[in-house]
Symmetry: D2
Subunit: 371 residues, 4 copies
Amino acid sequence: MPKQGTLNVAMIGYGFMGRAHSNAFRQASAFFDTPFDLRLKVLCGRDEAKARTIADMWGWQEVVRHWESVVSRPDIDVVDICTPNYLHAPIATAAAQAGKIVLCEKPLASTVEDAERMVEAARGCKTLVWFNYRRVPAVRFAWELVQDGRLGDIYHYRGLYLQSWGRTPGDPAAWRFNPDHAGSGVMGDLLSHSLDLAQWLNGPIRRLCSNVRVFAERRQVDDAVSVLAEFANGSMGTFEATRFAMGNQNRNCFEINGSDGALEFNLEKMNHLQFNDLRQEPSLQGRRELLVTGPGHPYVDRFWPPGHVIGYEHTFIATLVDFLEALARGERFRPDFSDALEIQRLLDLVSQSSQRGCWLESAQLATVSAP
Amino acid sequence: MPKQGTLNVAMIGYGFMGRAHSNAFRQASAFFDTPFDLRLKVLCGRDEAKARTIADMWGWQEVVRHWESVVSRPDIDVVDICTPNYLHAPIATAAAQAGKIVLCEKPLASTVEDAERMVEAARGCKTLVWFNYRRVPAVRFAWELVQDGRLGDIYHYRGLYLQSWGRTPGDPAAWRFNPDHAGSGVMGDLLSHSLDLAQWLNGPIRRLCSNVRVFAERRQVDDAVSVLAEFANGSMGTFEATRFAMGNQNRNCFEINGSDGALEFNLEKMNHLQFNDLRQEPSLQGRRELLVTGPGHPYVDRFWPPGHVIGYEHTFIATLVDFLEALARGERFRPDFSDALEIQRLLDLVSQSSQRGCWLESAQLATVSAP
Amino acid sequence: MPKQGTLNVAMIGYGFMGRAHSNAFRQASAFFDTPFDLRLKVLCGRDEAKARTIADMWGWQEVVRHWESVVSRPDIDVVDICTPNYLHAPIATAAAQAGKIVLCEKPLASTVEDAERMVEAARGCKTLVWFNYRRVPAVRFAWELVQDGRLGDIYHYRGLYLQSWGRTPGDPAAWRFNPDHAGSGVMGDLLSHSLDLAQWLNGPIRRLCSNVRVFAERRQVDDAVSVLAEFANGSMGTFEATRFAMGNQNRNCFEINGSDGALEFNLEKMNHLQFNDLRQEPSLQGRRELLVTGPGHPYVDRFWPPGHVIGYEHTFIATLVDFLEALARGERFRPDFSDALEIQRLLDLVSQSSQRGCWLESAQLATVSAP
Amino acid sequence: MPKQGTLNVAMIGYGFMGRAHSNAFRQASAFFDTPFDLRLKVLCGRDEAKARTIADMWGWQEVVRHWESVVSRPDIDVVDICTPNYLHAPIATAAAQAGKIVLCEKPLASTVEDAERMVEAARGCKTLVWFNYRRVPAVRFAWELVQDGRLGDIYHYRGLYLQSWGRTPGDPAAWRFNPDHAGSGVMGDLLSHSLDLAQWLNGPIRRLCSNVRVFAERRQVDDAVSVLAEFANGSMGTFEATRFAMGNQNRNCFEINGSDGALEFNLEKMNHLQFNDLRQEPSLQGRRELLVTGPGHPYVDRFWPPGHVIGYEHTFIATLVDFLEALARGERFRPDFSDALEIQRLLDLVSQSSQRGCWLESAQLATVSAP
């Protein structure tokens, strides 16, 4: 496909997510026939030496210290934000006001108010929020099975995001424990992913009840949260997100049980999907382990031949490529700022429910995102 | 060990549980050096032909139709109850008043009031409630690891009991769907097991919030229930019990995450226990699959050599043998009627919480059962 | 079904297998509507005190010390042999000559010559050899899938029997390390099971090449054996049997790969069977884990409801019941002495191939056993 | 680390391996602080249009059609060969004679003679053969455990490489079925990997016996091979490599059983390693599933944080980085052409053993490669 042009990217932030995004910008057109070329133009970071190192390794042409100087530069088409959460709002707002394409890490913001302002500012802009797990091939394939009605009526949805770190004070990622910088703990960091997947796979949540907890002494953000929910389609949901499920490294998993089929996914084994086809004769029903590397699975024909597994970073590549293709077609990409605002509202509802000790209704029940 | 005597048993009921209990009465002394001989004296069942068939197969000497005629017979030492739930109370009360040893299926009763009356009537009697899963060797071994402090401080407990049957009207076990006969649906049938294991393994629950649901049309008992809980030890709990987790046959599972170790169990693979020892060096930590058939595991040295798995029915044998040994030593057996009453109260709390849409405190926080 | 009569059983031997057989004699008619009643008449064992203990626990009416006095007693219908291997031949021969029904543990004998004499002596007798793993429900279900053509053309068969014991001198089961008593080490103990399953599932082996090894110092029987084979149906086979696969307790497993399906089984998880149906569309192909506890699976409807697993000992019950039913119908039971003689010849071929360092052709290619 | 210079790379071939190598050349310095910069200078391929597409996607500066024109160009430092096997020898020989660094896909050659000539020609050159699976982090970690003596004395090694493709004529990768182009079928393609890992992990093979088979009609290369082996350390080995293990996509797996520990690996789940530490107390021994993404695992600290899995292509990156570091230190990289020649000789032995139907001794027993 002939390229429709080149997009110059400025990335604000250079931590773990900065590396994952850099990789996506670098590699998208190596694997996919993307409609645009991407140029890794500017990397922006407070610590110039560190930023310089990252820039040199990943191929960013330029390094700057202040995002304010970048977001409205005429030679920048895309502003990608992977800073601590509290900076999402000012950067995204400025970039949107400058008419840029704005890509932002999740959670969209620290508060619903910020998120609403961001959506307002970005009206008319193309936006993306990096809920990258929608684009795990196995997760996308799960979504296809749901869409195809292979699960029948859904009765149960369980979403767990279990990690084990941060129990002791000296652990890394200190900004994540600073309420001013992170906004929340596992709610924004982990539960947001689970809720995004849940609503994408199973439709909107209409009511919920939660328990938000702090385990570590003097911790100022939430360490763990559990949620009961009901979905608009009548199914029951349970969610847990925690950094205290010791022994689990990155177990972002879900299970869906329907009248005709069931699915299980676990990010630690992200190339696999468990599928139980209940339309099979009873003696042959069983959870089957699909190795979602093709043939017939989404995205993977652009990576490696069947049987050759992909890694975590490919989810960012697939997200970016879908975004570029939507851009080329002039279509809305999902999840965008509006979708992420819904998650922000849901997180807020979780927080309130725990404080008030009761079930709360979701006001949304608006459209929840399609592919 | 020389036998301390013979106990004549009368069993009321002859369904699935009747077969499982019969097997235990027959087989206990084949595997274990029990302190008492057991004589399968009377089988009592409404349908005399069916009862006769079961009696002939399993070796019951006598068949009668009416439990009233049996429970006070002087030649009967032990009354074992495996009828539909609503009959537990009258039979157990009569048997207790006649001074019998009373063994009763779970849930103890249909209502807290009935359960209280049973405990009151059985004051002074030896009792057992067939929460048999405490005696799965892998579960008992899990309990030993917890007792030995191998898990450290507990942060999370998850108990799921997932089945898939009864979705369509024609399914078997019709009495389980009759609210007058069963008292409840999955709450008494499945959740009671999960709560008993949870409190045994992790101590008392101090507050909870629940969602009780009916999925099937015209169903008069609960099809599914989910619960958020907090334990007295500070850990968070989640529970789900359902007959609508299609694709799961008998997934009674739990996961416990502590500061020093984690455990996972699944009844469908009841000879295994997953243990993650977090005191190992980080690079060597991982969920290890223990085949709990010895050496060094509870009960199993009396069954088969290491590596030879046991089946479901052995949990009843081990329960019975522990009971007989407690009886011989004059000690209290756990779980007895008092323990089961606590579960009944918890089930009632679950039911109320769902109706009222809020968290409720457990009044108990009394002693929760020891081994 | 009205009983066709009562069979009086004498069991020679009382070790691990004696307990497993006793259980089967006791329990067969509790689970199944057997055509005969079985009476546990005589237990015969050298150590009378031990034999007495076993007899009391399992319900044998009488204990004797010398098998010679039992095998021709007119009040005995069935002679069951579970002694060390070297005694199989004299006992079975004497019992057969006395016209008894003869049941014998595997391997049938210590040598091909003994096995041939036993077959000769038993001509006209009803016989059974306890290759009990054919009657694991999951294995029998595997056989049904093969028979139904669900696997298509078979390309590969792998049979492993991996244990880890006997590495150090003090380990139990000393007779198994005495070449005069055992005849061989893992060949007779473990490989015989694998070969029996392989030929039952996949037809006769036509040629093989092997490596027989001793690892332990001063060990006089084989500790490990590996085999390459070709089956008459054109498929390739590999076998390993060892007591030095440290970390494996009782991993008797096989894998079969055909053009249309694949199967995997592991005795340590004997209630499960892995099935990959290659007639499914490619994107939905995957190894599915069948919980072989019904509905639609062999034997299990006589044990417990679906989802309730069975243990090791049920394989003996199912074997015995099939034997009794064949007996009632006047049909040949498989595997009988003739089938076990084929395995003995194959074991001999394995031994010779290793000594001579080359491939050897199987002379048999006779009928290999049907259900 | 300051770069020691820039290396200009010419890659001959542009198929699946061409993409995997391109990725490694592009990404090595993004993840690692490599001692050299790499410039993707020339891509050489017969079909210029296809080569141009690959070059544009992956960033090769120049495209040429004839390898002869490239391998001696003064502006080229590194020649990387990923053509069909029969071209390895002429290209590598020419490149070596021109003094280039030579990187070559496995198997090194189609014949032992070719491989010997290549080793001879490359005497004095730095070489690498892409046995990339040594650098799977989980495999490298397995090697470290073996080196640290965590497995004790080794008794058993099993290496399987199971795929399912090429059964029907129309399948892709046609050159792999052309004996003139591929040299062999699964022996060179799959078994070579298994043998390289086996000798690296467990030391040299001293004798073997094999069975090489063709299943597909009119197929001129081997479809499947099975091997019995003995290692110099006394352990027993079995190998299978096949494209007819239907249902397996890329199951390159091994199991090692030692006196003190056991390991299992499966490439389809390449981020995991199963380890059974037999120094644990018996009741706590079990196969533990290590998620080899850190901390404390090789390579992975340069990829993503613990719990974030990597994909297939990272094995090429790690291989390349190790090579560059050896180059910078002036050390020999393993596996190089000499190591690969040993594998070639072993493959030849496998082929001869099958033809002659007997065990053959390995002449090598030379040094087998260290890290």
